[in-house]
Symmetry: C2
């Protein structure tokens, strides 16, 4: 019986790190029984509740230039965490810090899976009452080649099956018109390749063609591909918009202070809706295509969100996402 | 004293045309005293309440190929409406039909303002409690040159000043990182031009640099520029996301049927929030850079939304948006 390896958690990355990260790690251990390895400056972590620490003296700032920092700061928490996965000390990596640095550390220390052109960031977007729609790339590759979008479609299909149990994922391409041939040049070129269908056979997907922004949270597809510039802007626009809508709603309700029954009756109904629509908390982005599981959490993640992301990282390891991607690449060759 | 020309309204364009369009036109006349010229098949319009009709026998479908349809269907409602503006029978144009066809008809019949490389679609995004942020291009140009983004910045500045009275608009560029140099190749190239600042002097703008998706509804800029592919996807993603969030909220509240006071007390607080966040209704996109005011409404526009858009079209004519764009182009030469 193989020992369960811990999730290596970058304790120093995040808006309120290390406090919120350590708190999230403790929650993950308590709630899900997932073993954790905290990586960073133990002196700043406070009581870890017995969670082991891998010392790392440097911290890559949220705004630091990613690739250069990863190359230079060899004793940084994110680099040491990625090395822990590479060296078999940890099963997977989670960081709520500098996204670019987490990506660069994963790429440089874990390496790409053979046959993968460009790893991509996949983010599940909530669909009320059904499985999420996974959008990728959400920021790993600002400029893309048409062929990469086809591979993103395959990576997303493997992910949708591994994480959400969707046997034959419906895959679409994000563009600006429903009819074939609508979009920018990249999408037009990618559509030419996507429509051949060979890629879909290789990964067991069902290509559903063009989708638009308004289709995103309506459950019409399980996977949607786009370049990383577009995906990142969609993600952040929706995060921002939802936050504003839900916040305005909460404010309006908080103004009715003389009818306490309102909060009492509405909160149990609205809290699950607010929670399900919160892209921040539920997101737990994953970098697909590297030789190890690398999860990226939002900088403003609460301890709850961190705990959920740690649990997801562990689930992705147990479900064999890396092996599944490898098998998909080999099936296509 | 010059006669007030009517707004030419494409009566046949929209999901529920001509009924909802005619209803909206009547509302505009009643509520705002704006004269309207309905364009289309009078036999299908029912009682127009005395609003004059310009006959047009053809209708360009919502999914028809825009440019080809405009060239071929010379007696279509959208083409006749654009000609009415060109010929001085109407002050401006409004269509809730095929967006591409409305754009093509405006471009081909009204023509571009001299010195404008590419007209762009500008959409005001709501900021709760303050003036909107105008995003452009929201779909006129799927692939853009860096120079066009600079001109979009100027067009947006003139629009923010003309429509919202913002004397020195803050203008940013939509990208995927706060630091200069972050983005795709188009944004990087455009930033090099935007940072020179000459364009800003020519149009009285204040360049605020890189912005991200999450900044959109937070009031941090008055104008944000991007390519039309990105802008259209942002617009539709937020429309879709907001609709889902607000709908889920309404559903949850509707479930509390045994406490009637909830609706009674909450509706007056929530309705303005819901209304203000409804990008569909408040949007009223405008095509900037043509030699006439051309407004584009959402296909699912309610009569209220149509009436508001007609009123906005008339306001833009009275405020001299076309002359203001012309003056801006001349000041830059």
């Amino acid at each position: 019986m193989s020992e369960v390896l811990p999730v290596a958690v970058d304790a120093m990355g995040g808006d309120d790190a290390p406090a919120s990260i350590v708190a999230g790690a403790k929650l993950a251990v308590e709630r899900f029984g997932v073993p954790v390895l905290l990586v960073g400056r133990s002196a700043e972590m406070g009581d870890t509740g017995g969670i082991p620490v891998l010392e790392a003296s440097e911290v890559i700032g949220m705004d630091a230039e990613p690739a250069a920092s990863v190359r230079r700061m060899k004793d940084s928490s994110i680099v040491r965490a990625a090395e822990a996965v590479r060296d078999g000390q940890a099963s997977s990596l989670l960081s709520a810090g500098n996204t670019g640095a987490a990506m660069a550390a994963s790429l440089l220390r874990m390496g790409r899976i053979k046959g993968i052109s460009r790893p991509a960031i996949a983010v599940p977007f909530p669909n009320l009452g059904s499985t999420p729609t996974t959008l990728l790339d959400c920021g790993a590759n600002a400029d893309c080649q048409p062929e990469w979008l086809v591979q993103f479609a395959q990576l997303g299909s493997v992910y949708a099956r591994t994480r959400f149990g969707i046997e034959t994922p419906r895959v679409g391409v994000m563009t600006i018109g429903e009819e074939a041939g609508k979009g920018n040049q990249l999408v037009k070129d990618a559509c030419g390749l996507l429509e051949t269908g060979d890629w879909a056979t290789a990964c067991g997907a069902n290509y559903v063609g063009n989708l638009e922004g308004r289709d995103l949270m309506k459950g019409v597809a399980d996977v949607i591909v786009c370049d990383g510039f577009t995906g990142n802007i969609i993600l952040k626009s929706l995060e921002g918009g939802m936050e504003i809508a839900l916040g305005a709603m909460r404010d309006a309700m908080a103004n009715v202070t003389d009818v306490p029954v309102i909060a009492e009756r509405l909160d149990p109904l609205l809290d699950p809706v607010f929670d399900e629509l919160d892209v921040n908390t539920r997101g737990s982005a994953i970098l697909l295509g590297t030789r190890g599981v690398s999860m990226i959490a939002h900088g403003s993640s609460t301890p709850d969100a961190i705990a959920n992301a740690i649990n997801t990282a562990n689930m992705m390891v147990e479900a064999g996402i890396v092996a599944n991607v490898r098998a998909m690449v080999e099936a296509g060759n």
